[in-house]
């Protein structure tokens, strides 16, 4: 059985600790609230000689991702961390990291995007990069953030995957909240992630490679199609395998999404991030009253588990998708679009509505969630698609 130590850590502290245990060869990073602490703590490990990492304190997030890409192409296990505007500034390089098939793993603390400038949580930053070719794994709490980072190394570096992974968690709500965390020993983390063995390296001077060549219309399409392949077939399978192995070793089972009291659920919420914890509390309350409420917590948003999610929701009468960002497309948030698409092929579909909530760190309360389940129960009873599919929850209109 694995060694267990339970200590109190914030999300940023747990992430920095996981990074210390991963012990990457290179980290390049730039400070940004609320992710700053991760690299700040990590820098103390570097200063104390507790890691082998070359820490590159770059002058911007664009350079952070550029240097991380350079390091990864030189055969180094390479990481960075960021949030919000920092992620937006990296945007160009995110596509290049994925296009070059680099297994970079990056903690990404969710924070609202400007304008107006705001330092608190919503998912607009990571959602804005959802088509960049990065795996996106979300967490409900500090423990899950810690575990996800360790699992993400295995998923990203898997030969059938070879894609970068963004491990996201909610700014302040998780990054700065202290929770008890079961910590794995350094040796067990190292054993779990294994040695990094890149197939190609710029430092292999006897076998020179050209990285970042130009493709014209005779090759570009094939290379982009090749990136799509693991997103279609490989990542979800690998993520399940890694999750199973992690559960066997360390006793915590996650899967690609979590079903909470879904067995006989008639109404359900689909949500990702820390709001899942709030929803679970309300579900337990409703269940005591005999109401068949359930929830699905999305863990992998990229790739999105379309088929698995449709199967899990097929017997539900009404579904509310909670989005902590707005796609500004005139039809709610990005998670809503994915869930509706997933459900479309079912012979009998649940009625699906959307709640955009929590932008810029606005609290989502138990009463908000109670209200959502109240709406779902009326929709289920009436069995009619409501006129208004998208509700902005907790906003002053």
């Amino acid at each position: 059985m694995a060694t267990k130590e339970r200590i109190a850590l914030t999300g940023n502290e747990a992430t920095a600790m996981a990074m210390k245990q991963i012990n990457p060869d290179v980290c390049a990073a730039y400070p940004i609230t609320p992710a700053t602490e991760i690299m700040q703590i990590f820098a103390t490990y570097v200063a104390d000689g507790l890691v082998n990492t070359e820490l590159v304190t770059v002058e911007s997030e664009h350079s952070a991702m550029s240097a991380t890409i350079g390091a990864c192409c030189a055969g180094a296990r390479s990481m960075t961390a960021t949030s919000s505007q920092g992620l937006a500034y990296m945007f160009e390089m995110l596509y290049i990291a994925a296009g070059l098939r680099l297994p970079i793993v990056m903690p990404m603390v969710n924070r609202a995007l400007s304008a107006p400038i705001n330092i608190h949580c919503d998912h607009g930053d990571s959602m804005g990069t959802r088509d960049a070719g990065w795996i996106q794994i979300n967490a409900e709490n500090v423990q899950e953030s810690y575990d996800n980072l360790i699992m993400a190394m295995r998923i990203a570096e898997h030969p059938e995957v070879q894609l970068p992974a963004m491990v996201t968690f909610d700014g302040f709500i998780i990054s700065h909240a202290m929770e008890p965390v079961d910590v794995i020993s350094d040796a067990e983390v190292q054993e779990f992630i294994g040695e990094y063995k890149p197939r190609f390296s710029l430092l292999d001077i006897d076998n020179p490679i050209t990285v970042g060549a130009i493709d014209f219309n005779d090759y570009y399409f094939e290379h982009r199609r090749a990136i799509a392949e693991p997103m279609i077939n490989g990542v979800l399978k690998v993520a399940e395998e890694v999750s199973d192995e992690f559960a066997k070793k360390f006793g915590r089972k996650y899967g690609i999404f979590q079903e909470y009291r879904m067995d006989d659920a008639e109404v359900a919420i689909v949500v990702l991030g820390s709001a899942a914890g709030t929803a679970k509390y309300v579900i337990d309350e409703l269940r005591q009253k005999g109401i068949k409420a359930g929830m699905i917590k999305i863990r992998l948003f990229r790739p999105f588990p379309y088929k698995q999610l449709a199967e899990a929701l097929k017997d539900v009468k009404a579904v509310a998708v909670l989005d902590r960002s707005d796609a500004l497309a005139g039809m709610g948030g990005p998670v809503f679009g994915e869930v509706r698409s997933a459900l479309y092929d079912l012979p009998v579909r649940p009625i699906t509505t959307n709640y955009v909530y929590g932008l810029g760190g606005r609290d989502i309360t138990l009463d908000h969630i109670r209200g959502v389940y109240g709406d779902l129960l009326s929709i289920a009873n009436e069995d009619k698609v409501p006129a208004n599919l998208v509700t902005y929850l907790g906003v002053r209109e």
Binding site: N52, A67, I69, C73, A74, M93, A213, I214, D215, F216
Partner: protein, 307 residues
């Protein structure tokens, strides 16, 4: 110093078959830089002419390992490669001696990549950054950059009725790099190959970052006949428009002092981008540019005299 024939056989040079324009001078610069190195190299490049003409998939002209990732980040990208090298060497996972060189055009160096370059130089990576400076955005079709000289016609500073050519003097990037207090900074030109190669060798020998700004006559953007590339570079040096100098640990040395300064008009008149300046009524513009070249040259002489 070996002679040119010997040098052409030295090092992992650029393979033929690349798609640079006939008469383009960056392949000459690149071959001189690559021939200068005695240790294995890992090279990088910003997006630009050099990268798009030498790496057309599934081919490559590079015999050294090579990385391009984007336009504004050649310095940051190679700094990551160098960081990986340092880390893996320190951990005992790698045992070869390798040097790192990255290239960028003036667009990728003077303008969009300046922050990335400044950051990498300040951090002290063991790397050489070579700017192949053709004084405009040539790859996208001759738009002005901050390296474009005053008066030059480009596609974004056309010759119109109200305005003719670029309105501003060019930025002195070499001086900005000197201000970073890095061990080695130089200006060079491919016409003076002996000087250029020596500078690359000095740059690779220092412990820390080095920067070389190489003037690159562009036959398309400057518009001259393909055989005149080296002549253009020589004229630029002999007119003191492009002084060859180096700053080694803060000490200035001018490497070429023309006995007779070639009038700037002699250099400009061979390029169609300045043809409007030779029309009657524009004498003051020509004089203005000559005065600016003289001012900068005098300042450099004074700076050298200070040690």
């Amino acid at each position: 110093m070996a002679n040119l024939k010997e040098l052409s056989k030295k090092g992992k040079t650029l393979a033929s078959g690349h798609r640079a324009c006939a008469g383009c001078t960056f392949p000459i610069i690149l071959r001189q830089v690559l021939a200068a190195a005695d240790t294995p190299l890992v090279c990088g490049s910003a997006t630009g002419c050099m990268e798009v003409t030498t790496t057309i998939f599934p081919y490559t002209s590079w015999k050294t390992p090579f990385i391009h990732s984007a336009f504004e980040n050649a310095a940051a990208t190679i700094s990551g490669v160098e960081a990986a090298y340092s880390s893996l060497t320190r951990q005992g996972k790698y045992d070869k001696e390798v040097k790192f060189i990255t290239f960028g055009g003036d667009g990728g160096t003077y303008d969009i990549g300046l922050q990335s370059l400044s950051g990498a130089m300040e951090r002290g990576h063991n790397m050489l950054y070579v700017c192949y400076n053709n004084e405009a955005y040539m790859n996208t079709g001759i738009q002005r950059s901050s390296a474009t000289p005053k008066g030059a016609e480009t596609t974004t500073t056309p010759i119109g009725k109200a305005r003719q050519g670029k309105q501003q003097y060019k930025k002195d990037l070499t001086a900005i790099m000197v201000a970073h207090n890095i061990p080695y900074v130089a200006q060079a030109a491919p016409s003076h190959w002996n000087d250029l190669i020596t500078k690359v060798q000095k740059a690779l020998a220092v412990d820390g970052p080095a920067f070389i700004n190489v003037l690159m006559p562009c036959r398309l953007g400057w518009s001259f006949q393909p055989q005149y590339g080296m002549q253009m570079a020589r004229d630029a040096v002999n007119s003191c428009y492009w002084p060859l100098y180096e700053v080694e640990n803060g000490v200035y040395k001018i490497n070429s002092k023309p006995k007779e300064k070639l009038p700037i008009a002699e250099f400009l008149k061979k390029q169609t981008k300045f043809r409007h300046m030779f029309k009657p009524g524009n004498e003051d513009k020509l004089a203005d540019l000559q005065a600016e070249v003289d001012r900068r040259w005098e300042a450099l002489l004074k700076r050298e005299a200070m040690g």
